[in-house]
Symmetry: C2
Subunit: 347 residues, 2 copies
């Protein structure tokens, strides 16, 4: 098609994990969904949907959601903007900051969408490798001085946390924008949220997809200095978040007790699954997310194992990326699901 | 903020029409919402939402919605892609087709978002003026040979339809992509849908915001040759449409009888309001949409009238655009709302 942009012909696009239709008899441990349902408050909120809210355009700024998030996070509403999932915000940030040919820097392995979004923008992705011990490559990332730098912490698929000191060093010494993607923050104890108060070039991304069990709702948000938020709002889709998502999202984030209780269950299961996989001869990396990076015993290839598990009705994720191509990422399921996984692995 | 892209500093962003919070005692005739509620089938579908659908990522391709749309439109599902409102698809198309500095062509007045999206992309917007009689400027648009050309038909804020012959001529003679934005198609009798079968450079945009009364849901779709659809899918947000919107949207588009019945009511009210405004001394243009472009009697300025109506609890839209700055766009409301408008105008 001659009218398509030339550089897009070599862009592969992002390949999301397999999403079998609802109701498929499959144990889905491939896309880091929370195994427990969202807060009952979400369903209570859905019962109150007024035809008027669907007939009319939603509030462009989703103020009802931002006010609730503001109270939960103790940060003013004008430091927050919303997106149709944090994926949309990743794309929006790159479009706001990265000139064609400029650099998008991130460590690898990490979230592959950073690469895809950079390629779509005709930017230059600079992938700084974690070493074999998965040490965070702070100096190389600093030296690269990206127009934008993406740091996921906790970082999928490894599960590692990036230290506060490293993030502080990046914030203070990068000329460009530092995006700290905290999609998995609910499964750990620390956050870099305070950095946005001290550094106007830091933006934090959050999502309701993981801790709040709302991947199907598409609601993410960004926290940064109001001037940066205003600039993002200028180019964002006016009605990025629909009326139902804003309503249900506010109900979910208000119910911290439900989220925390689900998270505690996931953390207990993560410890058990970690232990069980080690006993089965797997190498397992410490994880601060709702997933484990594992390397099968020497005689078994990661891809072959993924395929075998699929025939047994269990989906896990393989990434053809430097440092993890011989490993698999397994989402923490319910205890029943994790035990079923271990039973099959034992055979 | 030094890290923001230079050209964005002069971009104003899109200013959506005022969206007062739900429950505000206001007659809202400013953003072309349908005055009648969406299909009861939508609410029946919302009652069936399973926690699993929210916990899990949605189907990236929204196949359930596309299958239903496919049956209604009699076009295969792989000729359709979905977006978070057709606004998202407008942005996606420009990012897929327009190199920096290349041209985005559209007649003016038309949907102002075409300009905003072109500016954000650092493209060159070429605005071809309708003349005073609002004649479609076919030859100038052809001569401009845009990388992408946007034609809204029916076209807001004028209300005019672009003839089939004109669209056919554009499709056959433009080297770039021709986007026919049919947001208001449900309020008229004709569609350019057949053009996508004959021309690989034509893409049709549809939305559920107007005819289906679902502006709050954010669901739009595009129809084009499967090769073009695949290329758009490659760069689109993987989960652009959430699980609830896909479900509710399918229910809405399946219920053609409800949509058609609402549309008939709007068309009857449009004829009545048109007549009443003429009797009040307004000049009123023929409209194929759910709105009327009107010019107040000579002694009254459009902006002053808009402000006065606002103090009386009625919102209408003014566009500071060539050819319509002395006019107002009034959305067709319920008969009660339209009569209230006329009562106030009479004073």
């Amino acid at each position: 098609m001659p009218f398509l942009r030339k550089h897009l012909q070599s862009v592969a696009g992002y390949t999301p994990g397999e999403q079998p239709p609802p109701g498929s008899p499959v144990i889905k441990l491939n896309t880091n969904e929370n195994p427990y349902p969202p807060s009952p408050e979400v369903f209570r909120a859905l019962q109150t949907i007024d035809p008027e809210w669907l007939r009319r355009y939603p509030d462009p700024t989703a103020i009802a959601f931002r006010k609730t998030a503001s109270e939960v996070l103790n940060i003013p509403p004008d430091w927050i903007t919303v997106g149709n999932g944090s994926d949309e915000l990743i794309s929006l940030i790159v479009r706001a900051v990265v000139e064609p040919g400029a650099t998008v820097v991130y460590p690898m392995p990490s979230y592959v969408l950073y690469r895809t979004v950079a390629q779509i923008q005709d930017a230059q992705p600079i992938e700084v490798a974690y070493d074999e011990a998965f040490t965070f490559p702070l100096q190389e990332i600093l030296d690269a001085q990206g127009a934008v730098t993406f740091i996921a912490s906790p970082n999928s698929p490894i599960g590692n946390l990036v230290s506060e000191e490293a993030l502080e060093t990046l914030a203070a010494n990068l000329q460009g924008l530092l995006v700290i993607d905290e999609a998995y923050v609910d499964f750990t104890d620390t956050t870099a949220l305070h950095l946005v108060r001290q550094h106007a070039n830091v933006i934090i991304l959050r999502t309701l997809s993981k801790g709040y069990s709302l991947a199907g709702l598409r609601l993410g948000f960004a926290i940064a200095h109001p001037t940066l938020i205003q600039n993002l709002n200028k180019i964002k889709d006016s009605y990025a978040v629909d009326a139902i998502a804003a309503l249900a999202g506010a109900a979910a984030i208000r119910d911290q007790a439900h989220k925390n209780s689900n998270v505690q269950k996931v953390l207990r299961s993560r410890a058990t699954l970690h232990q069980n996989l080690v006993e089965l001869g797997f190498r397992v990396w410490p994880s601060e997310g709702n997933f484990l990076l594992v390397q099968p015993p020497q005689e078994i290839s990661a891809i072959a194992l993924q395929q075998h598990l699929k025939t047994q009705g269990i989906l896990v994720r393989h990434f053809n990326l430097p440092g993890v191509a011989d490993k698999l990422r397994i989402t923490i399921g319910t205890d029943v699901q994790n035990e079923q996984l271990c039973r099959i692995l034992k055979k």
